[in-house]
Amino acid sequence: MLWTIVRREITANILSFRFLMGLLIYFSLIVTNLFVLTRGYEDRLQSYQTAIRENEDEISKVTRYSEFGLTRRLKCNRKPELLSIFNEGVDKRQGNTVTVAHGYVPAVAEQHGSDNPYLNIFSSIDFTIICQVVMSLLGLLFAYDAISREKEEGTLGLTLSCAVPRPMLLLGKYIAGMVSISLPLLASFVAGLLVIQFSPYVSFSSSDWGRILLIFLVSTLYVSLFFLIGLFLSTRTHRSSITLMFSMCVWVLFVLIVPNLAVLLVEHASPIQSEEPYKEQAGEQWKKYGAEVKDYFKKRGVEKPLDRASLSGSGESSGVNDYDSGETVSASGFRSEEGVSFAQESYGFKENLRAQYADKIWQIRKEYLDKSPNRQSLLALNISRISPASVYYNAAAILAETDLGSFWQFMEQTRQYRREWLEYLRDEKIFSSRRWFTTQFDEPFDLSRIPRFKEQNESIGGSLQRASLDIMILAALNILFFMGAFISFLRYDVI
């Protein structure tokens, strides 16, 4: 019996004008969008590869290790996420290149290869936003008249006069509606995937396929929610035109307004604190560092480490900037062996101390970040969860690894890389070797052994775990509205 209803509904849906329209909208939007975003991805991939090359170039130009301290610092580049084709998330706005040094713990990323930052004034949309906006609308449009229209036309009473239980009719309408919405989505999704596959830069790994499947499933869950909302509204009214207006109201409110409003309100109700006090604290620490270094040399009767050692052509460039401190030294010839070993010893002391202070300063900066911008972002994220559209976007972003959490993981990895680099410097005793400040050394100068940054992607299980809250919210809302529609339909006056 259920299948008879489903079959009848599907036939009616497929023959309807809205099915044709839905197919047309999906197809044109999704295919063109995925094509455009694939090109965007190719550009970003190229600029990533250039950035990697430039980093290697810079490393190969290094002649003294102290250049890594200031003038030629190591860089960690973040590879553009392949799945950003489906969900751009914060991927584009957050930077993708991070500078690392023993005197600086990275906390922010800069943008490499953005040729025209002024283009940021144009917003862009991705597959997820298309689903967020268009699919929800179509979900409502397929469902709004499911019950109320039949009542208007009088066929509802007719159908129920047969031996059809009401739950079965509702379930049949749900299944049929979902099939007829998902079919065009699936078709255009597959067509879009084909378009992506034409790009020579794209090759999906099996975990990518898993993630794509999950994104598709979450999208279906989202559209199902709006279908159920439409169904529920349809069982609450007796005229389809009123259901339509209610549905549109829900759509405008939850899709267009709430997601924007939540962020806007958080930005204004809980503004960012001033960073100045933290910068001052950091400045104090650097002063303390400077004093300790000065003390060290005073005890030894010199002002600078190279004073005793250098014969000619010594130079120092150093800079302290808020949370950051670094120094590059060069010396070309020496007065005495004794002077050189003094310089080695003193740089060993100085740079190790700098690294320790950098860690302390990171704690200060971390306190600021956790207290202000990061807290604000999390608050905005949580408040925007009032709207299922935001919940859906967030879930898809986590699955595509373009959300804020993934970015924070990347930043954590860069700090891990700094620790590795520091360990390398300490293990090889580089601070206290001649290789630090001069090109005249006895030890071999081997740059290939310098640790390189390798980004580790989150496992699909990890992503799923982080997305579980959002997915559960979507599922719970689905169940809630199904029950709502069910109960309300049981009490519906069919004639």
Binding site: R18, G40, F122, V263, L264, H268, Q376, S377
Partner: protein
């Protein structure tokens, strides 16, 4: 007769749910917009701006103790004043730089001792205009969002409502059979159509009018924001523009409605058009356009600059001629050395400046090109018109840059004329030793200002306004013809 139909339509619309919906929505959004603007957005921006400009003034004051120092180090930071009409169109101002820097980019020193000569000089590079990407955005990690300004409320929400008001105007009457009944009276089709338009137009304008009134009441009640006469005039033009924009969607709705015999089909078609033109086109063109007009990357620009600077250095330093004759700081000063160094330093500053300006122009051309493409969408046209009138957005930023470039000449001219007054000066522009060492009266230094007059704002919006009006006329004709030729049953 038209009024008869219009009044009937108005009465019908007023009792509908969609009217209540629009009224509540627009009122809530407009009030929210005004409250957020008055309570935090604008005060914060103004505070930031005055803090920034105060710092800039202080630094100029410090430099004014010595004309030559001021001449070399430049006017410092030039800030873009925030527009008090930002609540109408934010214009992505948070994503655009808030300042231009006219400062020296570094200090250098050279000491040389050879058997032939001894040379010692330290100097600051001559100032030039730099365009740092320093925006007023505080937190990059916030989720993406659109500001709820008028451009959003009217451009997106009200255009959607306009569709909901008209989708069934004709097709709905066809469905219920009242259309043929109506036409059996002695009314022309044109009268019916116009009557329906006027009815819908007035009923949708009423909530908008109430919303805007509430919005402006809150804003003018605040002591922080005070709108000048020119700004009120601009608000008036913006209201008219909004009315034109809404009528575009009303005519579109009537046109599509006249082509269908079934109201749900006309609704779907309208939603499709709305999504493509209001949501999709303004949002996908940015990525597309960047592929068409290529702009050199940052690293390429720094490579070009480096090469150019090396070329200048090589030319001037060939045979150590820059050092051989002496240093500008030598006592007593040698005028030819000062001239030579002025040439050398000017060339550096000019080279950097022209490469940089050229790069920025190319970036701007790319953005302008993208804007042209997005003008396929009436929502984008409307947004640009509002931005021009409100004095925000990209067009305004471009004007700001032009103003700073004009100010660059003004400032240089001022230094030259001030220097002419000092007899002890060598009158060589621009090296520290070549100019007067006397203090400058701070008040005589020209101040940077970037004021937007009604005239300029209107001129900036003329293109978009014309486009909107032509689009409205086009759709009006389409709707009339479409309705004339359509079957009434």
């Amino acid at each position: 007769m038209i009024w008869h139909i219009a009044i009937r339509e108005i009465l019908d619309n007023l009792t509908r749910f969609r009217f209540v919906l629009t009224l509540i929505l627009v009122m809530a959004l407009m009030v929210m917009n005004a409250v957020i603007f008055v309570s935090s957005q604008y005060p914060r921006r103004i505070a930031e701006y005055s803090q920034d400009t105060n710092k800039a003034v202080e630094s100029v004051q410090k430099k004014s103790s010595n004309l030559s120092e001021l001449a070399v180090k430049g006017p410092g930071n030039l800030y873009k004043p925030p527009s008090p009409l930002t609540f109408i169109a934010t214009g992505e101002d948070a994503n655009l730089p808030k300042r231009v820097e006219g400062a020296s980019s570094g200090s250098y020193g050279i000491g040389k001792t050879t058997p032939d000569f001894k040379f010692n000089y330290s100097w600051s590079a001559n100032w030039w205009l730099q365009y740092p990407q320093d925006t007023s955005r505080k937190n990059d990690s916030l989720p993406n969002f659109t500001e709820l300004d008028w451009a959003f409320i009217i451009g997106l929400v009200m255009s959607f409502m306009a569709i909901l008001f008209t989708y069934d105007a004709i097709s709905g009457e066809r469905e219920t059979g009242t259309l043929s009944l109506l036409m059996s009276n002695s009314v022309s089709r044109a009268t019916v159509l116009l009557g329906k338009f006027i009815g819908a137009f007035l009923t949708i304008l009423l909530p908008l009018f109430i919303g805007i009134l509430l919005n402006l009441m809150i804003i003018s009640a605040s002591s922080l924001v005070s709108l000048s006469g020119s700004e009120w005039a601009r608000v008036g033009i913006i209201f008219v523009t909004s009315a034109i924009y809404i009528s575009i969607f009303l005519w579109l709705g009537l046109f599509i409605s006249s082509q269908f015999s079934n109201s749900s089909s006309s609704l779907l078609t309208l939603l499709l058009i709305w999504i493509v033109f209001v949501v999709l086109i303004p949002n996908t063109m940015g990525v597309l356009a960047s592929g068409f007009k290529q702009v050199s990357s940052r690293s390429e620009i720094s490579r070009i600059t480096k090469a150019k600077e090396e070329e200048i250095d090589n030319r001037h330093k060939a045979g150590e001629k820059l050092y051989r004759t002496g240093s500008p700081s030598d006592k007593p000063p040698k005028i030819e050395v000062i001239r030579m160094w002025a040439d050398y330093l000017n060339e550096h500053a000019d080279a950097k400046s022209s490469i940089n300006d050229d790069h920025l122009n190319k970036q701007f051309a790319q953005v302008t090109f993208t804007q042209q493409i997005t003008r396929l969408s009436p929502a984008a046209i409307y947004k640009y018109a509002l931005e021009s009138l409100a004095g925000t957005g990209f067009a305004r930023h471009q004007r700001f840059i032009q103003q700073t470039r004009r100010y660059r000449h003004q400032f240089a001219d001022f230094i030259r004329s001030e220097d002419r007054g000092d007899n002890e000066s060598h009158h060589v522009y621009l090296v520290e030793e070549g100019l007067s060492q006397k203090p400058v009266a701070f008040n005589s230094i020209p101040k940077f200002s970037d004021k937007l007059t009604l005239d300029i704002a209107f001129k900036g919006a003329v293109l978009d306004l014309t486009l909107l009006v032509s689009l409205m006329l086009l759709l009006f004709m389409a709707a009339s013809l479409g309705f004339m030729r359509s079957d009434i049953k």
